[in-house]
């Protein structure tokens, strides 16, 4: 049934029985005690959802779908990760209609957060992975509690197919703030008219990879 057909139906002032029958036919949840106005509201909302779906299909500029004057989406295909504090990061996404339909077709849409501290991430070598199931129709963002301050994180939005995670969007890297004093005993000083002076232990070279097998972590 198209949106127009539905609107024609609604404009004919149907009886409550007719409205309920149609709503059931469309797969909407109709409760026994519902008033006529409630059933009609249900159908109107459904009609509206058809409109917005249609707009997205046409790939018209998404900013035309406005709530309170602002677009709900810019169709930008973007995953943004921001650190909130040493133990919390925030991630939100904004999807194009293509990506949305691609992901919506999947059974299991997942949001992953990788700990990529001190590594060049190649998709498989994260120190640890956090995962959250995502209902795209209900969720547009997510807060991850993270165990480590002063660590680099990166997020991916994707889906699981045949037990394997397929990333669709990747975020920027975000570093969580530090919340403990440094363990370094090194001191560097600048003295007017002189070079930098170093006191304490020489710095260690950064660790290339913490000794945890990411193979095990990612279940591969």
């Amino acid at each position: 049934m198209t949106c127009e057909e539905l609107e024609v139906f609604l404009s004919k002032n149907p009886t409550i029985q007719e409205a309920k029958a149609l709503a059931r036919k469309l797969g909407l949840k109709v409760k026994k005690r519902m008033k006529k106005s409630e059933v009609l509201k249900l159908l109107q909302d459904f009609a509206k959802s058809l409109v917005s779906q249609k707009k997205e299909e046409k790939a018209s500029p998404p900013q035309e779908i406005r709530e309170n004057g602002l677009p709900q989406s810019y169709g930008s295909d973007r995953l943004v990760l921001l650190s909130v504090n040493p133990n919390l990061v925030y991630v939100y996404w904004d999807l194009s209609s293509e990506t949305l339909s691609k992901l919506s077709a999947q059974k299991e849409v997942l949001l992953r957060l990788y700990d990529v501290t001190y590594i060049v991430f190649d998709g498989t070598n994260a120190h640890r992975i956090f995962e959250a199931g995502v209902h795209l129709s209900m969720t547009r963002n997510y807060y991850f509690h993270v165990p480590m301050a002063n660590a680099d994180y990166l997020a991916e939005l994707g889906f699981k197919a045949e037990g394997k995670f397929v990333p669709v969007l990747r975020s920027n890297v975000a570093r969580t703030p530090s919340n403990t004093p440094s363990t370094s005993v090194r001191q560097r000083w600048i003295i007017k008219g002189k070079r930098t002076v170093k006191i304490g232990e020489p710095p260690l070279k950064p660790v290339e990879r913490i000794h945890i097998s990411s193979q095990v972590e990612s279940g591969r």
């Binding site: 900013q63 309170n68 004057g69 602002l70 677009p71 989406s73 810019y74 930008s76 973007r78 943004v80 990760l81 921001l82 650190s83 909130v84 504090n85 040493p86 919390l88 925030y90 939100y92 904004d94 547009r140 963002n141 807060y143 920027n172 975000a174 570093r175 703030p177 530090s178 919340n179 403990t180 004093p181 440094s182 370094s184 005993v185 090194r186 001191q187 560097r188 000083w189 600048i190 003295i191 007017k192 930098t196």
Partner: protein
């Protein structure tokens, strides 16, 4: 041996300008801050100078505030407002039942008249008053990032951070005619790498909260009591945790003393509706009018039982507290000197509105503090630039990512109440960058105006005040509306530009309403511009 004390007053209000309305509810933030804090502080500086009392204060003036200072429509509203208050005081003198009430009404009348005179002496622009003291050398003026945007949440879009700093420095130069040496980063928001951008625009120092030093990459030898140098050669000063606690703690702070003026009991709510109506908000909503006859009395006393304010009594409290604070600072300096065997640097930053607006007697407290301290040798007042001259060596440290907000990180500006704004801010920043690059060579004056206005709308949307208000829960509707308005205006202008269908009238209206930074250049936003300069 002695120690240095740096008083830092951070002065900021979001840009609120509704030129096509009578005094707007939120424009009261500005008129109240001017009448209750800025003018009384400037008058206090004048008195100290006349008395030849040594004092040094670092004052950051945020770009939106400087733009409000020069906004003549707003200045007219401010004057009208003060004149109305004088009128109200006269009615109050006539209706007073007791001599005490009559005296109080008379006190306010004189105070508002003095403010009006003072504004006139500055030709209506408060920046002149601050500049005067900067020229005497008692005040070091510093800038703030463009619209007080919270920088750690923009770090993944470095061109956005860059523009906030550039516009902050530029605004200061345009208003004062000289370069700012230092910056107050909005909300003390710092993230590693920001020092490089500051360096690029000639900023020599900035301020961070204490834990930015405590959790730095290497331990600060002098704790928070000495500025450090960041790897890019910019200096950072950290806040002394004790000073702010002593002055401003909700439970232990001085402003809670029973002799001080009670902020929350105001004529705007006390008087009969018809009588007070001409002096409250146009919509008829009762608001504070700034005339308050009562004292705190005690914390437990309900508002309606508060006793009448006694000015002399309040002033002696301000003196007592100044002495107490001075003693605390001297003993702090003594014990820090014992620990380090070196002179400490104590940095005490506050929001300027604490003095006068929230704490009515705050300016007199500061005045007494400087007067009394002049009798002691242990405590020396200094500006940041002077401190940097005093020492020969500095530790090189990268401060930790931090802010002075609740919890010390970014929670206040990013949480469930305000996270929705990120979608829009991130998007319009990217669009602005793309357009700045596409239209970089654009010569058409109308298109250039559209692009410049888009950058203004973007910057106004970035103000940290809007997400802050959403978190704290007062005036939320206004804050939400402001973000939506600026984003929508940005998008509408973009559509007109791209479709080559520019509505000149619409553009002119936005230029009149959102009229910050008239000299702004949309090309700031081009990424290659950023790289070229860096």
């Amino acid at each position: 041996m002695n120690g240095y004390f740096l008083l830092v007053l951070h002065t900021h209000l979001p840009y609120v300008n509704h030129p096509n309305h009578d005094l707007y509810l939120e424009e009261r933030w500005y008129v109240e801050a001017v009448l209750e804090s800025y003018v009384p502080l400037l008058m206090m500086f004048d008195r100290l100078q006349e008395k030849k009392v040594p004092f040094k204060v670092t004052i950051s003036l945020s770009p939106p505030l400087l733009e409000m200072f020069r906004n003549t429509t707003l200045t007219e509203k401010l004057k009208k407002y003060a004149e109305k208050l004088v009128e109200l005081c006269e009615k109050e003198i006539a209706r007073a039942n007791t001599q005490q009430e009559r005296d109080l009404a008379g006190f306010y009348r004189e105070r508002f008249l003095a403010c009006l005179n003072y504004l006139d002496s500055l030709n209506g622009n408060l920046a002149n008053g601050f500049k005067k003291h900067a020229e005497f050398g008692n005040v070091q003026l510093i800038t703030c990032n463009a619209t007080h945007g919270f920088l750690p949440l923009m770090r993944h879009q470095p061109f956005a951070v860059d523009t906030q700093i550039k516009v902050g420095v530029e605004t200061f130069k345009r208003h004062f005619g000289f370069e700012p040496k230092g910056i107050w980063l909005a909300e003390c928001g710092y993230h590693s790498g920001l020092d490089e951008t500051l360096k690029k625009y000639g900023v020599e120092f900035f301020f961070v909260d204490s834990h930015a030093f405590w959790y730095a990459d290497e331990r600060p030898y002098f704790d928070v009591y000495r500025p450090v140098m960041t790897p890019s050669g910019v200096f950072a000063f950290a806040r002394d945790p004790e000073s702010s606690e002593q002055v401003w703690s909700a439970t232990l702070g001085y402003p809670g003393d029973g002799r001080y003026r009670e902020f929350y009991r105001d004529l705007g709510f006390d008087r009969d509706y018809d009588y007070i109506k001409p002096y409250i908000d146009k919509s008829g909503v009762r608001v504070n009018v700034g005339i308050k006859y009562h004292k705190v009395t005690s914390r437990e006393t309900p508002l309606e039982k508060k006793e009448l304010y006694n000015r002399d009594e309040a002033l002696s409290a301000a003196k007592e507290h100044a002495l107490d604070f001075l003693n605390k600072k001297i003993s702090q300096i003594n014990s820090l000197t014992d620990v380090f065997n070196q002179p400490p640097v104590i940095v005490a930053p506050f929001d300027t509105e604490l003095f006068g607006h929230w704490w009515f007697e705050g300016p007199e407290f500061l005045e007494n503090f400087f007067v009394e301290a002049s009798r002691y040798r242990q405590i020396k007042f200094a500006t940041p630039s002077e401190v940097l001259e005093k020492f020969d060596s500095f530790q090189i440290v990268t401060p930790a990512d931090s802010s002075w907000g609740n919890g010390g990180y970014f929670d206040t500006w990013l949480n469930g109440k305000n996270d929705w704004i990120q979608l829009h801010l991130v998007e319009i920043r990217d669009r602005m960058k793309r357009l700045a690059e596409t239209y970089f060579e654009e010569k058409d004056p109308l298109k250039t105006r559209v692009l410049n206005q888009m950058l203004r709308e973007l910057l106004l949307a970035e103000s940290s005040d809007w997400p802050f208000i959403m978190t704290t829960g007062t005036n939320v509707e206004y804050a939400v509306n402001r973000i939506k308005t600026h984003v929508k205006r940005f998008l509408d202008l973009e559509t007109q530009l791209v479709k080559d269908n520019i509505d000149g009238e619409f553009l002119a209206r936005l230029e009149q309403e959102d009229d910050v930074f008239p000299w702004i250049e949309f090309r700031y936003y081009a990424a290659f511009q950023t790289r070229k300069e860096g």
